[in-house]
């Protein structure tokens, strides 16, 4: 038996296909990089990250970690990152609560509850997030009274143009706007994910649980929801990623998140490529971390086949 020519061999094409892919990627990357280096050269600009150690000399309004204008750009970017994480983490927690409650409410037997949830979803899912943020900022938080005549609820929570005053700390109007905006917007999507997840659990499970004499709340908590989670978690991950990335809209309402500080840095140093690289990498790492955690969580709720 003669050996078939190598181009008829499937194994050859497996390897060749990979090589061609590598080759094409290499060409594209080379073209892009040479184009970049040529342009930088023509402008007399130098590629490098030395600027990170220079003094930032701009102030940041809201910081959790200590920061002064005399600190470096890298410190300023760190402050921005911490601010972003603050928004992302609180946002993810709150939006999950909103989404789960509204999702269950969407399937409620109560006409009013069901329809309020429906209206909420339709309004928040069908208008742009940026518009919603500007609405919360200008039509809600900035219309609060001046600090002197703040509205106080039992002396615990105060509302004024300086933000929301809680006994321990104050949430600035910028932070509150972003948190509320992101939470309600993303919550609307999660509502639909939760509703879909619950509806995917077969009717038989409800009937079986009811025949055991469980009350509706317990049926939901012990029988339906754990099964719905299998369907809910993968699309939920996407929503968490969206929330994290959408937090960069902070720039519109004056909250100094990572994107904001990075664009100021880019503007003052002119290091467009370097700053964009850092920004891309950081958001990539954030997104991958969220995916990783959620994938792990997803594995824990899947059916274990023994």
């Amino acid at each position: 038996m003669t050996k078939p020519p190598f181009w008829r061999d499937q194994r050859f094409w497996y390897i060749a296909g990979q090589l061609i892919a590598v080759f094409v990627v290499a060409i594209v990357v080379t073209i892009l990089l040479s184009n970049l280096s040529r342009n930088l050269q023509q402008l007399g600009l130098q590629f490098g990250f030395d600027f990170l150690n220079q003094q930032a000399s701009f102030d940041i309004g809201e910081t959790v970690v200590s920061y002064q204008p005399s600190d470096t750009y890298s410190r300023a970017l760190w402050v921005g990152l911490v601010n972003s994480l603050r928004i992302a983490i609180t946002g993810i927690i709150l939006t999950t609560i909103v989404g789960v409650f509204a999702g269950v409410a969407r399937l409620s037997d109560n006409w009013l509850v069901r329809n309020i949830a429906l209206i909420y979803v339709e309004i928040f899912r069908n208008t742009p997030l940026l518009l919603q943020l500007l609405f919360w900022y200008f039509a809600v938080f900035l219309t609060f009274p001046k600090t002197e005549n703040k509205i106080s609820i039992w002396g615990l929570v105060g509302f004024s143009q300086n933000g929301i005053q809680l006994p321990w700390f104050t949430l600035s109007p910028e932070f509150s706007t972003l948190l509320l905006g992101l939470t309600l917007y993303t919550g609307a999507f999660i509502t639909e994910i939760v509703r879909g997840g619950i509806q995917s659990v077969s009717r038989g499970q409800w009937e079986a649980a009811r025949s055991l004499g469980l009350k509706p709340v317990l049926i939901m908590r012990l029988v339906i929801f754990p099964q719905a989670l299998r369907v809910i978690i993968p699309p939920l991950t996407s929503q968490y990623l969206n929330l994290t990335k959408n937090s960069s809209l902070a720039i519109a309402v004056g909250y100094p998140d990572l994107y904001f500080v990075a664009s100021t840095t880019f503007n003052q140093t002119g290091k467009a490529v370097e700053v964009m690289l850092l920004l891309t990498l950081t958001y990539l790492i954030l997104s991958l971390t969220i995916s990783l955690v959620m994938n792990w969580f997803n594995r824990t709720v899947q059916i274990k086949e023994r």
Partner: protein, 356 residues
């Protein structure tokens, strides 16, 4: 065959790493893939061949660049572009304006999206070096200032302790404010926005006790506030802000052209030649005027322009005084005194090198 593919791929990777190295200038020597690029930037010819100037402006600061209700651009920054177009094409309308925000402006220039940036931009050392801009002469000497509400009781910078101050990002103002407050050891809370409209709207809503920007911008945007008369601008100047047009570095012919068009505006005023009386100077015996108007000598040729390029500029756009009066002078809402934006002969800072 396989081996040659490997070799090629490897050579590309070598080229890649070499290109991405830290200092760019020698990158072109690495491989066949990078040799086809044009090495000389020629913005001058690009513009000339296109037959139109692309000019980056803000479009949001009345008196500097603003789109009126008739859809037409006006302002001193806009007139600078019209002057350049007049010199190149004998047509002040051969300009396409692009609105750029403070953050977009430098990238737009670096990438060649606009030919010239005429957008109340402060001339600074780092912008001239690490950002890669070539600045033309200053067209407006400004200084940063602070605006507060009259009933706030704020009279000076020290009164701003722990107050919220609205600032627009992407500008030198952000850094100047930080510098001044640091010098005086005053803590404050910056509330920073990217958009100039949102910055002023937030101040108008009362979120901030003060707002800072270039004095001219405060006057111009302040006039658009709901109750302009309720606000006042503090006397203290925070910084000096020489506002100048800029082009991308690396094309001397192009930056020279833009520079000398601006000098022509200044020289026109110095010589007393304006768009109305320019006809009377046609037969002047003054050699200075003759050279300026191009009836003697070959000054324009040095820039690749016609010798009467300055006359074209004056004819279509007017001299600096006309430009100033039309956009910022007493007949406008802004009513800004000439002050330091007066010719050197009248005690100001404006000065044109000789046209010879």
């Amino acid at each position: 065959m396989k081996r040659s593919v490997f070799c090629l791929a490897a050579s590309f990777f070598v080229a890649t790493t070499a290109c991405s190295g830290n200092s760019a200038p020698t990158a072109n020597t690495t491989g066949a893939s990078t040799t086809t690029a044009p090495t000389v930037r020629d913005r001058w010819n690009t513009v000339k061949n296109r037959g139109q100037l692309i000019c980056g402006v803000s479009g949001e600061v009345p008196g500097f660049s603003f789109v009126g209700t008739d859809g037409k651009y006006s302002g001193i920054d806009v007139d600078v572009c019209r002057a350049v177009a007049s010199a190149l094409f004998d047509n002040p309308d051969a300009v396409e304006f692009r609105n750029l925000n403070a953050k977009e402006r430098f990238t737009a220039l670096q990438t060649g999206e606009v030919d010239i940036l005429s957008r109340n931009t402060t001339w600074t050392l780092s912008r001239a070096t690490s950002v890669g801009l070539a600045f033309a002469p200053v067209v407006f000497y400004d200084g940063q200032a602070i605006m507060v509400r009259k009933n706030s009781g704020i009279k000076s910078l020290t009164d701003l302790k722990d107050k919220a101050i609205c600032v627009q990002t992407g500008t030198t103002t952000e850094q100047n404010l930080a510098d001044q407050m640091r010098k005086r050891n005053i803590t404050y809370k910056p509330v920073v926005f990217e958009d100039v409209n949102i910055t002023f709207a937030t101040y108008a809503e009362g979120r901030c006790d003060a707002i800072t920007a270039d004095r001219s911008a405060l006057v111009s945007r302040g006039a658009l506030l709901p109750k302009p008369e309720d606000n006042l601008i503090l006397d203290e100047a925070i910084s000096s802000e020489p506002l100048a047009p800029a082009v991308a570095k690396g094309d001397t012919k192009w930056s020279d052209t833009v520079s000398w068009v601006i000098y022509a505006l200044l020289k026109g005023e110095e010589l007393g030649i304006n768009s109305q009386n320019i006809g009377q100077f046609a037969n002047s015996n003054d050699p200075d005027i003759k050279r300026f108007l191009g009836t003697e000598g070959k000054l324009g040729e040095g820039l690749g322009l016609t010798n009467d390029f300055a006359a074209r500029v004056i004819k279509h756009v007017g001299n600096y005084a006309e430009v100033y009066d039309r956009n910022l002078g007493p007949k406008t809402k802004l009513n800004l005194a000439r002050g330091q934006n007066q010719l050197w002969t009248k005690g100001g800072l404006l000065y044109s090198p000789p046209f010879r």
